[in-house]
């Protein structure tokens, strides 16, 4: 079987290991950090300018992959909504003993409510666990790309990247 982003639309473990935007295991343990799942040389660079701490570098040519300087990154999440590919997340493994927090861009309506329990999905859209909505950032600066922070059991932090798309209430009946 053909594996990897180009064949399945899902980034493979191998690809993640080689990805210069993917933090090291040690860095994950230290607290919130950006996870940049962008592995093809496409002409794109808004994430670079978005980071207030200069933690993302692309440089010239513009097709270079974004490289994360995990020492400079504070996991603030500002870069998430700047990415037209919706390929940037933050993960906080230090949130509590049992839970991690994954933050991701979410451009679907209606948005969930703070505190709500929702089904969390992996990169294939498969439901893997249930999470709790902690925070939704949706300021003008996000330009209609809300960022959802979701608390989930730690062991799913490397997999959960979104939640199930809400159904329109009217049609649910």
């Amino acid at each position: 079987m053909n594996k990897g982003l180009k064949f399945t639309g899902v980034i493979s473990e191998e690809e993640l290991k080689r990805c210069p935007g993917y933090p090291s295991e040690e860095r994950f343990k230290k607290g919130p950090v950006a996870v940049i799942e962008c592995i093809q040389e496409i002409p794109c660079n808004p994430c670079e300018a978005a980071c207030p701490f200069g933690a993302i570098e692309i440089g010239e040519p513009i097709t270079n992959l974004p490289v994360l300087d995990e020492k400079k990154c504070r996991g603030c999440g500002v870069c998430i909504s700047s990415c037209p590919g919706l390929a940037i997340f933050t993960v906080d493994m230090s949130y509590s003993k049992t839970e991690a927090v994954v933050s991701f861009p979410f451009e679907y309506l209606p948005l969930p409510k703070i505190g709500e329990k929702v089904k969390a999905v992996n990169r294939e859209g498969r439901i893997v666990t249930v999470g709790r909505i902690l925070k939704i950032k949706n300021s003008l600066k996000n330009d209609h790309t809300p960022i959802i922070s979701l608390a989930i059991p730690k062991k799913w932090a490397a997999e959960v990247r979104s939640i199930v798309i809400p159904q329109n209430k009217k049609e649910r009946k």
Binding site: N2, L5, K6, F7, T8, G9, V10, I11, E37, C38, I39, Q40, E41, I42, P43, C44, N45, P46, E48, A49, A50, E60, P61, I62, T63, S82, C83, P84, G85, L86, A87, E107, Y108, L109, V121, N122, R123, E124, G125, R126, D143, H144, T145, R161, S162, V164, I165, N168, E171
Partner: protein, 364 residues
């Protein structure tokens, strides 16, 4: 008959950028488009764009259009909307038609930025209502706010197919599957990834065999393809859908360039026949310039840069810009274009375009 300095046909990113550059330099510019508002493809694009930060990447297409329109206004570009350019005739005459009348406009220089139109695919049932192009689906959803169906099958996994699928999900439809005949996904991985996270399967080496239904689409049969792209008997699968959306490429809208007698090359990877041009975006015909998807289907970012080149070259040829100043700006834009065409997705386009994109001496 009215005589203007510059006429630009097509108000997409290429035509808008060309108009702005020429008008900024001091030329009199008339911009013509068949739609009731300028912007071309951009008005359907509610997603954030790729590209370089300095060229409006990360901004939604529709907002890019708004910004360009402001600049057009600022520099005094005159726009003729709801107006089709139906022909190019001798002595730089352009035939125009709107609802009320036909007219002829003469221009010292003409820039063609007509964009591209969608390819179609035929299969049994392809004429049933519910089978439509990705552009049509996008226009219905994002401009007219109508969702033509609840369960969509997307044919083609290029960036257009992936983005329109995403927008269909946002609009509340279910995208049942994306099928792709090639053995790999055509568009950017990041676009594919966001569709997969939403639970949409992308089936490579698959195509649509037929579409069925009484008065409209009620379902489709998809089939797996072998290494030689032949359907594998017995692998057919029936799926329930009410929209089958085609996103199988675009081809440049070249009619006006043919009519003017431009020389063409045939490059399938750029969408088919494209008019030959140099680094000034000047075609083989005197006074006629070309830019954007018409010169090879690419992206809004490249269309903008090509438009700027054409606008600058036209202004220079009319004496509004000194050679040194124009050369400096053109060199910067060329660098941008080369950078935008780097990487695995753009490299081929650069290699295909460069052989004839040479020379930028202004023809007097």
């Amino acid at each position: 008959m009215e005589l203007v300095e510059v006429a630009v046909i097509g108000a997409g990113p290429a035509g808008l950028a060309a108009s702005i550059e020429a008008a900024k330099a001091g030329a009199e510019v008339v911009l013509i488009d068949e739609n009731n508002r300028p912007g071309g493809q951009l008005f359907k694009q509610i997603h954030k764009f790729f590209g370089s930060k300095s060229h409006m990447a990360g901004i939604r297409g529709i907002n890019i259009a708004t910004k360009l329109l402001e600049d057009c206004e600022k520099f005094g570009v005159k726009t003729l909307l709801n107006t089709v350019a139906f022909g190019l005739f001798e002595e730089n005459r352009i035939g125009l038609a709107n609802k009320d009348k036909k007219s002829i406009l003469r221009a010292k220089r003409i820039i063609l930025a007509t964009g591209a139109s969608e390819n179609v695919l035929n299969f049994p049932g392809w004429t049933l209502p519910g089978v439509m192009g990705a552009g049509a689906l996008q226009t219905m959803m994002n401009v007219n706010r109508v969702l033509p169906g609840k369960r969509i099958l997307m044919i083609g996994s290029g960036n257009v197919g992936l983005i329109v699928s995403y927008q269909a999900l946002q609009a509340g439809a279910k995208v049942v599957a994306i099928v792709e005949a090639a053995p790999q996904i055509g568009g950017y991985g990041v676009h594919a990834a966001k569709i997969r996270r939403a639970g949409v399967p992308i089936l490579i080496s698959h195509t649509v065999k037929k579409v069925f239904g009484n008065d409209c689409v009620e379902g489709a049969v998809i089939v797996r393809l072998d290494k030689k792209w032949k359907p594998i008997l017995g692998s057919e699968k029936k799926i329930k859908v009410d929209v089958v959306c085609l996103s199988v490429g675009l081809n440049p809208l070249t009619e006006l360039a043919w009519m003017a007698g431009c020389k063409f090359v045939y490059i399938p990877a750029l969408g088919g026949h494209i008019p030959i041009h140099n680094w000034n975006m000047e075609s083989s015909k005197k006074d006629l310039y070309v830019a954007g998807d018409l010169t090879g289907v690419e992206e809004a970012s490249t269309a903008l840069e090509e438009g700027k080149l054409a606008g600058l070259a036209v202004a220079e040829s009319l004496g509004y810009l000194k050679r040194e100043k124009a050369s400096k700006r053109k060199a910067e834009i060329r660098e941008q274009l080369i950078a935008l065409r780097a990487g695995p997705f753009g490299e081929l386009r650069r290699k295909l375009k460069e052989p004839f994109m040479q020379g930028d001496e202004i023809r007097k």
